[in-house]
Protein backbone atom coordinates (compact mmCIF):
# COMPACT_ATOMS: atom_id res chain seq x y z
CA UNK A 1 0.00 0.00 0.00
CA UNK A 2 1.02 3.55 -0.67
CA UNK A 3 2.59 5.10 2.43
CA UNK A 4 1.07 8.21 3.86
CA UNK A 5 3.46 10.80 2.49
CA UNK A 6 2.27 13.52 4.85
CA UNK A 7 3.85 11.64 7.72
CA UNK A 8 7.22 11.89 6.07
CA UNK A 9 9.25 14.98 6.64
CA UNK A 10 7.69 15.63 10.01
CA UNK A 11 10.07 18.12 11.40
CA UNK A 12 12.60 16.79 13.85
CA UNK A 13 12.38 18.23 17.28
CA UNK A 14 15.29 20.53 17.92
CA UNK A 15 18.10 19.26 20.11
CA UNK A 16 19.05 21.30 23.16
CA UNK A 17 22.09 23.48 22.56
CA UNK A 18 24.24 21.78 25.18
CA UNK A 19 23.58 18.24 23.97
CA UNK A 20 26.53 16.58 22.30
CA UNK A 21 25.42 15.68 18.78
CA UNK A 22 26.77 13.00 16.57
CA UNK A 23 27.52 13.35 12.86
CA UNK A 24 27.80 10.54 10.36
CA UNK A 25 29.79 11.35 7.26
CA UNK A 26 28.95 9.14 4.29
CA UNK A 27 31.94 9.95 2.13
CA UNK A 28 33.09 8.61 -1.23
CA UNK A 29 35.81 6.47 0.27
CA UNK A 30 38.30 6.62 3.06
CA UNK A 31 41.01 5.96 0.57
CA UNK A 32 40.11 9.12 -1.31
CA UNK A 33 42.03 12.23 -0.47
CA UNK A 34 39.23 14.52 -1.56
CA UNK A 35 36.84 12.86 0.86
CA UNK A 36 39.58 13.07 3.47
CA UNK A 37 39.64 16.85 3.01
CA UNK A 38 35.89 17.02 3.54
CA UNK A 39 36.33 14.82 6.57
CA UNK A 40 39.02 17.06 8.02
CA UNK A 41 36.68 20.05 7.77
CA UNK A 42 33.81 18.17 9.34
CA UNK A 43 35.90 16.79 12.13
CA UNK A 44 37.45 20.11 13.02
CA UNK A 45 34.12 21.88 13.15
CA UNK A 46 32.46 19.07 15.08
CA UNK A 47 35.17 18.89 17.71
CA UNK A 48 34.98 22.59 18.25
CA UNK A 49 31.21 22.61 18.50
CA UNK A 50 30.18 19.92 20.95
CA UNK A 51 29.75 17.15 18.42
CA UNK A 52 31.50 14.01 17.36
CA UNK A 53 31.83 12.73 13.81
CA UNK A 54 32.28 9.32 12.19
CA UNK A 55 33.44 8.54 8.65
CA UNK A 56 31.46 5.73 7.01
CA UNK A 57 33.47 4.26 4.21
CA UNK A 58 31.48 3.05 1.22
CA UNK A 59 34.61 2.58 -0.85
CA UNK A 60 33.08 4.25 -3.92
CA UNK A 61 30.27 1.73 -3.99
CA UNK A 62 26.75 3.07 -4.56
CA UNK A 63 24.70 0.20 -3.15
CA UNK A 64 26.96 -0.09 -0.10
CA UNK A 65 26.37 3.55 0.69
CA UNK A 66 22.61 3.08 0.37
CA UNK A 67 22.70 0.22 2.87
CA UNK A 68 24.96 2.14 5.21
CA UNK A 69 22.57 5.04 5.38
CA UNK A 70 19.57 2.75 5.86
CA UNK A 71 21.34 0.94 8.66
CA UNK A 72 22.32 4.24 10.24
CA UNK A 73 18.66 5.20 10.32
CA UNK A 74 17.88 1.87 11.97
CA UNK A 75 20.59 2.15 14.55
CA UNK A 76 19.69 5.81 15.30
CA UNK A 77 23.35 6.50 15.80
CA UNK A 78 23.53 9.92 14.18
CA UNK A 79 21.70 13.18 14.67
CA UNK A 80 23.17 14.67 11.53
CA UNK A 81 24.28 12.88 8.42
CA UNK A 82 26.42 14.43 5.72
CA UNK A 83 26.10 12.66 2.41
CA UNK A 84 28.70 12.70 -0.31
CA UNK A 85 26.79 10.52 -2.73
CA UNK A 86 28.46 7.92 -4.92
CA UNK A 87 25.21 7.44 -6.78
CA UNK A 88 22.96 10.44 -6.36
CA UNK A 89 19.79 8.84 -7.62
CA UNK A 90 20.11 5.67 -5.55
CA UNK A 91 20.57 7.77 -2.40
CA UNK A 92 17.22 9.52 -2.80
CA UNK A 93 15.28 6.84 -1.02
CA UNK A 94 17.46 6.33 2.06
CA UNK A 95 17.81 10.10 2.39
CA UNK A 96 14.02 10.35 2.44
CA UNK A 97 13.96 7.66 5.13
CA UNK A 98 16.51 9.57 7.17
CA UNK A 99 14.50 12.77 6.89
CA UNK A 100 11.36 10.88 7.87
CA UNK A 101 13.19 9.52 10.91
CA UNK A 102 13.95 13.06 11.99
CA UNK A 103 17.60 13.07 11.09
CA UNK A 104 19.14 16.22 9.68
CA UNK A 105 20.60 15.50 6.24
CA UNK A 106 23.24 17.62 4.58
CA UNK A 107 23.99 16.87 0.95
CA UNK A 108 27.59 17.71 0.20
CA UNK A 109 29.46 18.18 -3.09
CA UNK A 110 27.43 15.88 -5.38
CA UNK A 111 23.66 16.23 -5.60
CA UNK A 112 21.27 13.62 -4.24
CA UNK A 113 18.84 13.26 -7.10
CA UNK A 114 19.47 13.31 -10.81
CA UNK A 115 19.62 17.02 -11.64
CA UNK A 116 23.13 18.19 -12.22
CA UNK A 117 22.54 21.85 -12.94
CA UNK A 118 21.27 23.11 -9.64
CA UNK A 119 22.15 23.37 -5.97
CA UNK A 120 18.49 23.34 -4.98
CA UNK A 121 17.32 20.46 -2.80
CA UNK A 122 16.04 17.54 -4.84
CA UNK A 123 14.82 15.77 -1.73
CA UNK A 124 12.67 18.08 0.35
CA UNK A 125 14.05 18.78 3.77
CA UNK A 126 17.71 18.37 2.90
CA UNK A 127 20.38 21.03 3.23
CA UNK A 128 22.49 21.22 0.08
CA UNK A 129 25.98 22.52 -0.15
CA UNK A 130 27.13 21.40 -3.52
CA UNK A 131 29.14 22.12 -6.60
CA UNK A 132 26.67 21.47 -9.43
CA UNK A 133 28.45 19.56 -12.20
CA UNK A 134 27.31 21.95 -14.90
CA UNK A 135 28.68 24.89 -12.92
CA UNK A 136 31.88 22.91 -12.64
CA UNK A 137 31.88 22.33 -16.42
CA UNK A 138 31.27 25.99 -17.15
CA UNK A 139 34.11 26.96 -14.83
CA UNK A 140 36.50 24.55 -16.52
CA UNK A 141 35.51 25.97 -19.90
CA UNK A 142 36.12 29.51 -18.70
CA UNK A 143 39.61 28.53 -17.51
CA UNK A 144 40.13 26.69 -20.81
CA UNK A 145 39.33 29.76 -22.89
CA UNK A 146 41.63 31.88 -20.75
CA UNK A 147 44.32 29.24 -21.18
CA UNK A 148 43.94 29.52 -24.96
CA UNK A 149 44.53 33.23 -24.69
CA UNK A 150 47.52 32.80 -22.42
CA UNK A 151 48.98 30.31 -24.87
CA UNK A 152 48.61 32.87 -27.60
CA UNK A 153 46.07 30.80 -29.44
CA UNK A 154 43.00 32.88 -28.81
CA UNK A 155 41.76 32.08 -32.28
CA UNK A 156 42.15 28.62 -33.77
CA UNK A 157 42.53 27.19 -30.30
CA UNK A 158 42.17 23.41 -30.11
CA UNK A 159 40.94 22.20 -26.74
CA UNK A 160 40.69 18.60 -25.54
CA UNK A 161 38.36 17.81 -22.69
CA UNK A 162 39.18 14.44 -21.13
CA UNK A 163 35.99 12.92 -19.74
CA UNK A 164 35.96 11.39 -16.29
CA UNK A 165 34.12 8.10 -16.48
CA UNK A 166 32.76 7.39 -19.93
CA UNK A 167 29.04 7.89 -20.13
CA UNK A 168 28.33 8.37 -16.44
CA UNK A 169 25.39 10.75 -16.28
CA UNK A 170 27.20 13.11 -13.93
CA UNK A 171 30.30 13.15 -16.12
CA UNK A 172 28.16 13.45 -19.21
CA UNK A 173 26.42 16.53 -17.83
CA UNK A 174 29.71 18.13 -16.92
CA UNK A 175 31.34 17.23 -20.23
CA UNK A 176 28.43 18.62 -22.17
CA UNK A 177 28.38 21.86 -20.18
CA UNK A 178 32.11 22.28 -20.64
CA UNK A 179 32.11 21.45 -24.34
CA UNK A 180 29.20 23.80 -25.04
CA UNK A 181 30.77 26.63 -23.09
CA UNK A 182 34.12 26.10 -24.79
CA UNK A 183 32.52 26.37 -28.21
CA UNK A 184 30.52 29.38 -27.11
CA UNK A 185 33.69 30.93 -25.75
CA UNK A 186 35.40 30.75 -29.12
CA UNK A 187 37.45 27.56 -29.11
CA UNK A 188 38.08 26.51 -32.69
CA UNK A 189 37.84 22.80 -32.01
CA UNK A 190 36.70 20.87 -28.95
CA UNK A 191 37.69 17.22 -28.63
CA UNK A 192 35.63 15.50 -25.98
CA UNK A 193 35.67 11.82 -26.89
CA UNK A 194 38.72 10.85 -24.87
CA UNK A 195 38.26 9.27 -21.48
CA UNK A 196 40.87 10.43 -18.99
CA UNK A 197 39.44 8.84 -15.88
CA UNK A 198 40.53 9.72 -12.37
CA UNK A 199 43.98 8.16 -12.12
CA UNK A 200 47.35 9.21 -13.51
CA UNK A 201 47.56 5.98 -15.44
CA UNK A 202 44.30 6.37 -17.32
CA UNK A 203 45.22 10.01 -17.95
CA UNK A 204 48.57 8.97 -19.32
CA UNK A 205 47.02 6.52 -21.77
CA UNK A 206 44.42 9.06 -22.87
CA UNK A 207 47.12 11.67 -23.43
CA UNK A 208 49.24 9.24 -25.44
CA UNK A 209 46.31 8.54 -27.70
CA UNK A 210 45.33 12.19 -27.84
CA UNK A 211 48.76 13.24 -28.98
CA UNK A 212 48.68 10.53 -31.58
CA UNK A 213 45.39 11.68 -33.01
CA UNK A 214 45.71 15.41 -32.38
CA UNK A 215 49.36 16.39 -32.04
CA UNK A 216 48.40 20.05 -32.47
CA UNK A 217 46.19 20.33 -29.38
CA UNK A 218 46.68 23.56 -27.41
CA UNK A 219 44.84 23.04 -24.15
CA UNK A 220 43.97 19.87 -22.29
CA UNK A 221 41.31 19.84 -19.58
CA UNK A 222 40.71 16.90 -17.29
CA UNK A 223 40.65 15.63 -13.73
CA UNK A 224 43.78 16.70 -11.89
CA UNK A 225 44.76 13.09 -11.25
CA UNK A 226 44.52 12.25 -14.93
CA UNK A 227 46.50 15.33 -15.90
CA UNK A 228 49.27 14.38 -13.50
CA UNK A 229 49.78 11.33 -15.65
CA UNK A 230 49.35 13.32 -18.85
CA UNK A 231 51.62 16.29 -18.10
CA UNK A 232 55.03 14.57 -18.52
CA UNK A 233 54.06 13.56 -22.06
CA UNK A 234 53.69 17.19 -23.06
CA UNK A 235 57.12 18.30 -22.00
CA UNK A 236 58.73 20.22 -24.80
CA UNK A 237 55.37 20.81 -26.47
CA UNK A 238 53.33 23.98 -26.43
CA UNK A 239 50.44 22.53 -24.49
CA UNK A 240 48.91 23.86 -21.34
CA UNK A 241 46.49 22.23 -18.95
CA UNK A 242 43.45 22.98 -16.85
CA UNK A 243 42.84 20.57 -14.01
CA UNK A 244 39.66 19.74 -12.17
CA UNK A 245 40.38 19.38 -8.46
CA UNK A 246 42.58 21.57 -6.27
CA UNK A 247 45.14 19.12 -4.97
CA UNK A 248 48.62 20.04 -3.77
CA UNK A 249 50.02 18.63 -7.00
CA UNK A 250 47.63 20.69 -9.10
CA UNK A 251 48.57 23.84 -7.17
CA UNK A 252 52.20 23.02 -7.78
CA UNK A 253 51.72 22.68 -11.53
CA UNK A 254 49.78 25.94 -11.65
CA UNK A 255 52.34 27.78 -9.58
CA UNK A 256 55.26 26.62 -11.70
CA UNK A 257 53.37 27.52 -14.85
CA UNK A 258 53.03 24.03 -16.31
CA UNK A 259 49.27 24.23 -16.02
CA UNK A 260 47.29 27.32 -16.75
CA UNK A 261 44.77 26.76 -14.00
CA UNK A 262 42.78 24.48 -11.79
CA UNK A 263 39.14 24.34 -10.76
CA UNK A 264 39.60 24.24 -7.02
CA UNK A 265 36.76 23.56 -4.65
CA UNK A 266 37.61 24.54 -1.06
CA UNK A 267 36.69 21.10 0.10
CA UNK A 268 37.79 21.36 3.68
CA UNK A 269 35.82 24.56 4.10
CA UNK A 270 32.91 22.90 2.41
CA UNK A 271 33.06 20.04 4.90
CA UNK A 272 33.20 22.45 7.80
CA UNK A 273 30.29 24.41 6.35
CA UNK A 274 28.28 21.21 5.95
CA UNK A 275 28.88 20.35 9.58
CA UNK A 276 28.02 23.89 10.63
CA UNK A 277 24.74 23.94 8.73
CA UNK A 278 23.78 20.44 9.83
CA UNK A 279 24.44 21.09 13.51
CA UNK A 280 22.69 24.43 13.36
CA UNK A 281 19.57 22.88 11.86
CA UNK A 282 19.62 20.02 14.35
CA UNK A 283 19.76 22.60 17.11
CA UNK A 284 16.67 24.27 15.76
CA UNK A 285 18.14 27.18 13.85
CA UNK A 286 17.06 27.96 10.37
CA UNK A 287 19.65 27.57 7.66
CA UNK A 288 19.73 28.12 3.90
CA UNK A 289 18.72 24.99 2.12
CA UNK A 290 20.96 25.51 -0.84
CA UNK A 291 24.53 26.75 -1.05
CA UNK A 292 26.73 26.79 -4.15
CA UNK A 293 30.21 26.03 -2.87
CA UNK A 294 32.27 28.03 -5.29
CA UNK A 295 30.39 31.31 -5.14
CA UNK A 296 29.84 31.15 -1.40
CA UNK A 297 33.11 29.83 -0.05
CA UNK A 298 35.68 31.33 -2.43
CA UNK A 299 36.27 34.80 -3.72
CA UNK A 300 37.34 33.56 -7.16
CA UNK A 301 34.51 31.13 -8.04
CA UNK A 302 36.88 28.20 -7.68
CA UNK A 303 38.70 29.36 -10.81
CA UNK A 304 42.27 28.92 -9.63
CA UNK A 305 45.04 30.49 -11.68
CA UNK A 306 48.54 31.43 -10.69
CA UNK A 307 47.20 34.84 -9.75
CA UNK A 308 44.08 33.84 -7.88
CA UNK A 309 45.81 31.03 -5.96
CA UNK A 310 48.41 33.44 -4.60
CA UNK A 311 48.73 32.68 -0.90
CA UNK A 312 46.28 29.78 -0.99
CA UNK A 313 47.16 26.24 0.02
CA UNK A 314 45.53 23.09 -1.21
CA UNK A 315 43.20 21.12 1.06
CA UNK A 316 44.42 17.72 0.01
CA UNK A 317 46.88 15.97 -2.18
CA UNK A 318 46.27 13.35 -4.85
Amino acid sequence: SKPDSSAAGSAASAAPADKKLSIGFFGFAKANSFAQATWAGIQEYANANNAEATFLDSNFDGPTQVNQLQDAVTSKRYDVVIVQANDGTAMVNPVKQAIAAGITVVVEFTPVGGKYDTADPQVPGTINIIDPPTVNGDGLAKLGIDACKSAGAATGCKVAYLQGFANYPLDTARTKAAADALKAGGAAEVISNFVGGYTPDTGRAAMQNLLQAHPDVNVVIGSSQALEGATPLASGKKITFVGNGGSTQAYGFVNDGTWYGVYSVPEKKSGAKAAELGLAKARGQSVPESTVVCTTLTSFDCLGTKASLQGQTADYSD
Binding site: K2, D57, N59, Q70, D71, T74, S75, T89, N93, N167
Partner: protein, 333 residues
Protein backbone atom coordinates in the same frame (compact mmCIF):
# COMPACT_ATOMS: atom_id res chain seq x y z
CA UNK B 1 14.56 -46.77 -0.22
CA UNK B 2 17.48 -49.09 -0.57
CA UNK B 3 18.42 -50.63 -3.84
CA UNK B 4 20.73 -53.01 -2.07
CA UNK B 5 19.80 -56.55 -2.86
CA UNK B 6 22.76 -58.30 -1.30
CA UNK B 7 21.18 -60.38 1.40
CA UNK B 8 24.24 -60.45 3.67
CA UNK B 9 24.83 -56.72 3.87
CA UNK B 10 21.18 -55.92 4.21
CA UNK B 11 20.70 -58.39 7.02
CA UNK B 12 23.71 -57.51 9.11
CA UNK B 13 24.71 -53.91 9.45
CA UNK B 14 22.87 -51.89 6.88
CA UNK B 15 19.72 -50.61 8.64
CA UNK B 16 21.34 -48.88 11.62
CA UNK B 17 24.42 -47.54 9.95
CA UNK B 18 22.52 -46.49 6.87
CA UNK B 19 20.29 -44.29 8.96
CA UNK B 20 23.25 -42.68 10.64
CA UNK B 21 24.89 -42.11 7.30
CA UNK B 22 21.67 -40.76 5.85
CA UNK B 23 21.57 -38.18 8.62
CA UNK B 24 25.23 -37.24 8.23
CA UNK B 25 24.63 -37.05 4.52
CA UNK B 26 21.84 -34.57 5.04
CA UNK B 27 23.57 -32.46 7.67
CA UNK B 28 26.80 -31.96 5.84
CA UNK B 29 24.94 -30.20 3.10
CA UNK B 30 23.87 -27.44 5.43
CA UNK B 31 27.20 -26.20 6.67
CA UNK B 32 26.63 -22.79 5.19
CA UNK B 33 23.43 -22.45 7.20
CA UNK B 34 25.38 -23.24 10.34
CA UNK B 35 27.89 -20.53 9.50
CA UNK B 36 25.05 -18.17 8.78
CA UNK B 37 23.44 -19.00 12.11
CA UNK B 38 26.69 -18.36 13.96
CA UNK B 39 26.95 -14.88 12.47
CA UNK B 40 23.29 -14.10 13.15
CA UNK B 41 23.62 -15.16 16.77
CA UNK B 42 26.81 -13.18 17.23
CA UNK B 43 25.11 -10.08 15.87
CA UNK B 44 21.96 -10.56 17.93
CA UNK B 45 23.99 -10.81 21.08
CA UNK B 46 26.33 -7.92 20.40
CA UNK B 47 23.82 -5.32 19.25
CA UNK B 48 20.34 -4.58 20.44
CA UNK B 49 19.28 -3.23 17.07
CA UNK B 50 19.99 -6.27 14.94
CA UNK B 51 17.11 -8.41 16.04
CA UNK B 52 14.51 -5.70 15.70
CA UNK B 53 11.61 -5.96 13.33
CA UNK B 54 12.66 -2.77 11.56
CA UNK B 55 16.16 -4.02 10.91
CA UNK B 56 15.01 -7.38 9.64
CA UNK B 57 12.62 -5.63 7.28
CA UNK B 58 15.54 -3.49 6.09
CA UNK B 59 17.81 -6.47 5.76
CA UNK B 60 15.41 -8.26 3.47
CA UNK B 61 14.83 -5.08 1.52
CA UNK B 62 18.57 -4.62 1.12
CA UNK B 63 18.98 -8.23 0.04
CA UNK B 64 16.23 -8.12 -2.57
CA UNK B 65 18.29 -6.79 -5.48
CA UNK B 66 21.38 -8.88 -4.86
CA UNK B 67 19.19 -11.85 -3.99
CA UNK B 68 17.33 -11.69 -7.29
CA UNK B 69 20.58 -11.47 -9.21
CA UNK B 70 22.00 -14.32 -7.15
CA UNK B 71 19.02 -16.50 -8.08
CA UNK B 72 19.62 -15.77 -11.75
CA UNK B 73 23.33 -16.44 -11.34
CA UNK B 74 22.60 -19.72 -9.56
CA UNK B 75 20.32 -20.96 -12.31
CA UNK B 76 22.96 -20.15 -14.91
CA UNK B 77 25.85 -21.63 -12.93
CA UNK B 78 23.92 -24.81 -12.21
CA UNK B 79 23.39 -25.23 -15.94
CA UNK B 80 27.08 -24.67 -16.57
CA UNK B 81 27.20 -21.09 -17.84
CA UNK B 82 28.08 -17.70 -16.40
CA UNK B 83 25.87 -14.71 -17.05
CA UNK B 84 28.05 -11.63 -16.86
CA UNK B 85 25.38 -9.58 -18.59
CA UNK B 86 23.21 -9.59 -15.44
CA UNK B 87 23.88 -6.02 -14.35
CA UNK B 88 23.85 -4.62 -17.89
CA UNK B 89 20.55 -6.39 -18.54
CA UNK B 90 19.32 -4.91 -15.27
CA UNK B 91 20.16 -1.39 -16.42
CA UNK B 92 18.90 -1.77 -19.97
CA UNK B 93 15.60 -3.35 -19.01
CA UNK B 94 14.97 -0.79 -16.26
CA UNK B 95 15.64 1.94 -18.83
CA UNK B 96 13.26 0.32 -21.30
CA UNK B 97 10.73 0.08 -18.48
CA UNK B 98 10.99 3.80 -17.75
CA UNK B 99 10.75 4.61 -21.46
CA UNK B 100 7.54 2.61 -21.64
CA UNK B 101 6.21 4.29 -18.51
CA UNK B 102 6.83 7.60 -20.25
CA UNK B 103 4.36 6.71 -23.01
CA UNK B 104 1.90 4.49 -21.12
CA UNK B 105 1.58 3.83 -17.41
CA UNK B 106 3.51 2.26 -14.58
CA UNK B 107 2.03 -1.23 -14.86
CA UNK B 108 2.64 -1.54 -18.56
CA UNK B 109 6.12 -0.18 -18.00
CA UNK B 110 6.92 -2.73 -15.33
CA UNK B 111 5.61 -5.56 -17.47
CA UNK B 112 7.57 -4.19 -20.41
CA UNK B 113 10.76 -4.14 -18.37
CA UNK B 114 10.31 -7.78 -17.41
CA UNK B 115 9.61 -8.69 -21.02
CA UNK B 116 12.70 -6.75 -22.06
CA UNK B 117 14.76 -8.66 -19.47
CA UNK B 118 13.48 -11.95 -20.83
CA UNK B 119 14.20 -10.87 -24.40
CA UNK B 120 17.71 -9.72 -23.53
CA UNK B 121 18.32 -13.02 -21.75
CA UNK B 122 17.14 -14.79 -24.85
CA UNK B 123 19.51 -12.80 -27.03
CA UNK B 124 22.41 -13.48 -24.67
CA UNK B 125 21.58 -17.16 -24.76
CA UNK B 126 21.44 -17.22 -28.54
CA UNK B 127 24.73 -15.37 -28.83
CA UNK B 128 26.45 -17.77 -26.45
CA UNK B 129 24.99 -20.99 -27.81
CA UNK B 130 25.23 -20.07 -31.48
CA UNK B 131 28.73 -18.63 -31.42
CA UNK B 132 29.96 -21.59 -29.40
CA UNK B 133 32.12 -19.20 -27.45
CA UNK B 134 32.70 -19.83 -23.76
CA UNK B 135 29.93 -18.17 -21.77
CA UNK B 136 32.35 -16.20 -19.64
CA UNK B 137 33.75 -14.18 -22.50
CA UNK B 138 30.59 -14.35 -24.61
CA UNK B 139 28.47 -12.73 -21.93
CA UNK B 140 31.24 -10.30 -21.06
CA UNK B 141 31.19 -8.98 -24.61
CA UNK B 142 27.41 -9.02 -24.73
CA UNK B 143 27.26 -7.05 -21.51
CA UNK B 144 29.39 -4.33 -23.10
CA UNK B 145 26.89 -4.19 -25.94
CA UNK B 146 23.94 -3.92 -23.54
CA UNK B 147 25.60 -1.21 -21.48
CA UNK B 148 26.43 0.59 -24.67
CA UNK B 149 22.84 0.36 -25.84
CA UNK B 150 21.74 1.68 -22.47
CA UNK B 151 24.02 4.66 -23.00
CA UNK B 152 22.67 5.23 -26.48
CA UNK B 153 19.04 4.95 -25.43
CA UNK B 154 19.46 7.40 -22.56
CA UNK B 155 22.00 9.64 -24.24
CA UNK B 156 24.13 8.97 -21.15
CA UNK B 157 21.68 10.88 -18.98
CA UNK B 158 19.27 9.96 -16.22
CA UNK B 159 15.74 9.25 -17.37
CA UNK B 160 12.60 9.68 -15.31
CA UNK B 161 8.98 8.62 -15.42
CA UNK B 162 6.65 11.56 -16.12
CA UNK B 163 6.08 13.73 -13.05
CA UNK B 164 2.49 12.56 -12.62
CA UNK B 165 3.54 8.93 -12.43
CA UNK B 166 6.63 9.47 -10.30
CA UNK B 167 4.90 8.56 -7.09
CA UNK B 168 3.37 5.34 -8.40
CA UNK B 169 6.67 4.47 -9.99
CA UNK B 170 8.09 4.25 -6.49
CA UNK B 171 5.59 1.56 -5.52
CA UNK B 172 8.19 -1.11 -4.95
CA UNK B 173 9.44 0.83 -1.96
CA UNK B 174 6.03 0.90 -0.32
CA UNK B 175 5.36 -1.25 2.68
CA UNK B 176 3.24 -4.27 2.01
CA UNK B 177 2.28 -7.60 3.61
CA UNK B 178 3.62 -8.14 7.16
CA UNK B 179 5.27 -4.73 6.97
CA UNK B 180 7.77 -5.99 4.38
CA UNK B 181 8.50 -3.73 1.45
CA UNK B 182 6.93 -4.58 -1.90
CA UNK B 183 10.43 -5.19 -3.22
CA UNK B 184 10.86 -7.89 -0.59
CA UNK B 185 7.57 -9.46 -1.58
CA UNK B 186 8.60 -9.54 -5.24
CA UNK B 187 11.87 -11.09 -4.21
CA UNK B 188 10.27 -13.77 -2.04
CA UNK B 189 7.71 -14.71 -4.66
CA UNK B 190 10.31 -14.97 -7.42
CA UNK B 191 12.59 -17.04 -5.22
CA UNK B 192 9.78 -19.41 -4.39
CA UNK B 193 8.74 -19.85 -8.01
CA UNK B 194 12.25 -20.34 -9.35
CA UNK B 195 13.19 -22.47 -6.37
CA UNK B 196 10.37 -24.87 -7.15
CA UNK B 197 11.15 -24.74 -10.86
CA UNK B 198 14.72 -25.77 -10.27
CA UNK B 199 14.16 -28.33 -7.52
CA UNK B 200 10.97 -30.03 -8.56
CA UNK B 201 10.34 -29.86 -12.29
CA UNK B 202 11.66 -31.81 -15.22
CA UNK B 203 13.15 -28.56 -16.45
CA UNK B 204 15.15 -28.38 -13.24
CA UNK B 205 16.40 -31.92 -13.75
CA UNK B 206 17.56 -31.01 -17.22
CA UNK B 207 19.30 -27.93 -15.89
CA UNK B 208 21.36 -30.01 -13.49
CA UNK B 209 22.09 -32.66 -16.09
CA UNK B 210 23.28 -30.14 -18.66
CA UNK B 211 25.48 -28.43 -16.08
CA UNK B 212 26.87 -31.70 -14.78
CA UNK B 213 27.69 -33.30 -18.12
CA UNK B 214 26.47 -31.59 -21.26
CA UNK B 215 27.45 -34.46 -23.53
CA UNK B 216 25.64 -37.06 -21.45
CA UNK B 217 22.62 -34.77 -21.38
CA UNK B 218 22.69 -34.34 -25.14
CA UNK B 219 22.88 -38.08 -25.64
CA UNK B 220 19.90 -38.41 -23.30
CA UNK B 221 17.83 -36.36 -25.70
CA UNK B 222 18.10 -33.04 -23.90
CA UNK B 223 18.43 -29.91 -26.04
CA UNK B 224 21.45 -28.46 -24.33
CA UNK B 225 21.24 -25.17 -26.21
CA UNK B 226 17.61 -24.59 -25.27
CA UNK B 227 18.32 -25.30 -21.64
CA UNK B 228 21.11 -22.77 -21.64
CA UNK B 229 18.96 -20.21 -23.40
CA UNK B 230 16.22 -20.80 -20.81
CA UNK B 231 18.71 -20.29 -18.01
CA UNK B 232 19.72 -16.96 -19.54
CA UNK B 233 16.07 -15.98 -19.93
CA UNK B 234 15.41 -16.71 -16.26
CA UNK B 235 18.49 -14.73 -15.34
CA UNK B 236 17.27 -11.89 -17.58
CA UNK B 237 13.91 -11.82 -15.83
CA UNK B 238 15.56 -11.76 -12.42
CA UNK B 239 17.80 -8.92 -13.59
CA UNK B 240 14.85 -6.94 -14.90
CA UNK B 241 13.00 -7.31 -11.60
CA UNK B 242 16.10 -6.25 -9.71
CA UNK B 243 16.39 -3.30 -12.08
CA UNK B 244 12.81 -2.28 -11.43
CA UNK B 245 13.41 -2.34 -7.69
CA UNK B 246 16.47 -0.14 -8.07
CA UNK B 247 14.70 2.22 -10.47
CA UNK B 248 11.66 2.38 -8.26
CA UNK B 249 13.82 3.30 -5.30
CA UNK B 250 15.78 5.92 -7.22
CA UNK B 251 12.73 7.19 -9.08
CA UNK B 252 14.77 7.05 -12.27
CA UNK B 253 16.99 4.84 -14.39
CA UNK B 254 20.40 5.32 -15.94
CA UNK B 255 22.96 3.39 -17.91
CA UNK B 256 25.40 2.90 -15.05
CA UNK B 257 22.99 1.17 -12.69
CA UNK B 258 24.38 -1.67 -10.58
CA UNK B 259 27.72 -1.74 -12.38
CA UNK B 260 29.77 -4.75 -11.31
CA UNK B 261 26.95 -6.32 -9.37
CA UNK B 262 26.93 -9.41 -11.60
CA UNK B 263 30.10 -10.47 -9.86
CA UNK B 264 28.73 -9.91 -6.39
CA UNK B 265 25.80 -12.05 -7.48
CA UNK B 266 28.08 -14.84 -8.64
CA UNK B 267 29.99 -14.50 -5.39
CA UNK B 268 26.73 -14.82 -3.45
CA UNK B 269 25.83 -17.96 -5.37
CA UNK B 270 29.23 -19.48 -4.74
CA UNK B 271 29.42 -18.43 -1.08
CA UNK B 272 26.10 -20.22 -0.63
CA UNK B 273 27.73 -23.40 -1.84
CA UNK B 274 26.87 -23.68 -5.52
CA UNK B 275 29.81 -25.16 -7.42
CA UNK B 276 31.08 -23.00 -10.25
CA UNK B 277 31.74 -26.21 -12.15
CA UNK B 278 28.02 -26.63 -12.70
CA UNK B 279 25.57 -29.44 -12.06
CA UNK B 280 25.34 -28.78 -8.34
CA UNK B 281 23.82 -26.13 -6.13
CA UNK B 282 20.42 -24.77 -5.28
CA UNK B 283 18.42 -21.57 -5.37
CA UNK B 284 18.23 -21.41 -1.60
CA UNK B 285 22.02 -21.39 -1.50
CA UNK B 286 22.11 -18.27 -3.63
CA UNK B 287 19.73 -16.60 -1.20
CA UNK B 288 21.77 -17.64 1.81
CA UNK B 289 24.87 -16.31 0.09
CA UNK B 290 23.21 -12.99 -0.70
CA UNK B 291 21.84 -12.73 2.84
CA UNK B 292 25.25 -13.52 4.27
CA UNK B 293 27.00 -10.84 2.24
CA UNK B 294 24.32 -8.28 3.08
CA UNK B 295 24.28 -9.31 6.71
CA UNK B 296 27.98 -8.80 7.14
CA UNK B 297 27.67 -5.23 5.88
CA UNK B 298 24.55 -4.62 7.93
CA UNK B 299 26.14 -6.01 11.08
CA UNK B 300 29.12 -3.76 10.69
CA UNK B 301 26.98 -0.73 10.25
CA UNK B 302 25.00 -1.58 13.35
CA UNK B 303 28.06 -2.35 15.42
CA UNK B 304 29.48 1.00 14.42
CA UNK B 305 33.02 -0.29 14.09
CA UNK B 306 35.55 1.85 12.38
CA UNK B 307 35.13 1.22 8.69
CA UNK B 308 38.88 1.01 8.22
CA UNK B 309 38.82 -2.56 9.56
CA UNK B 310 35.62 -3.39 7.80
CA UNK B 311 37.00 -4.89 4.62
CA UNK B 312 39.54 -7.01 6.43
CA UNK B 313 36.87 -8.37 8.72
CA UNK B 314 34.39 -8.87 5.90
CA UNK B 315 36.96 -10.91 4.05
CA UNK B 316 37.69 -12.96 7.14
CA UNK B 317 34.01 -13.59 7.83
CA UNK B 318 33.38 -14.78 4.28
CA UNK B 319 36.38 -17.06 4.54
CA UNK B 320 35.11 -18.32 7.86
CA UNK B 321 31.68 -19.10 6.45
CA UNK B 322 32.84 -20.91 3.34
CA UNK B 323 35.59 -22.78 5.16
CA UNK B 324 33.16 -23.93 7.81
CA UNK B 325 30.81 -25.10 5.07
CA UNK B 326 33.64 -26.90 3.37
CA UNK B 327 34.94 -28.61 6.47
CA UNK B 328 31.56 -29.82 7.60
CA UNK B 329 31.12 -31.42 4.21
CA UNK B 330 34.54 -32.97 4.21
CA UNK B 331 34.46 -34.32 7.76
CA UNK B 332 31.38 -36.35 7.11
CA UNK B 333 32.85 -37.99 4.02
Amino acid sequence: MTVDVTPQAAAASAPASANVSRLAFRLRDYGILAAFAVIVIALSVSTDTFLTRGNLVNLLDQTAVLGLLAVGATVCIVSGVFDLTASATLALSAIIGVKIVQVTNVYVGFAGAVAAGAALGFVTGMVVTRSGVNSFVGTLATSLVYRGLAVMVTGAAIIYPPAGLAEDFGMLTWPSLFGLTSATIVFVVVVAVIGVLVARTTFGRRLYAVGGNAEAARLSGIRVGSIHVSAFVISGICSALAGLILASRAGSAQSTMATGMELTAIAAAVVGGTSILGGEGAVWRGIVGALLLTLIGNGFNLLGWDTIYQQVLQGCLILFAVTMDRWLRRRSR
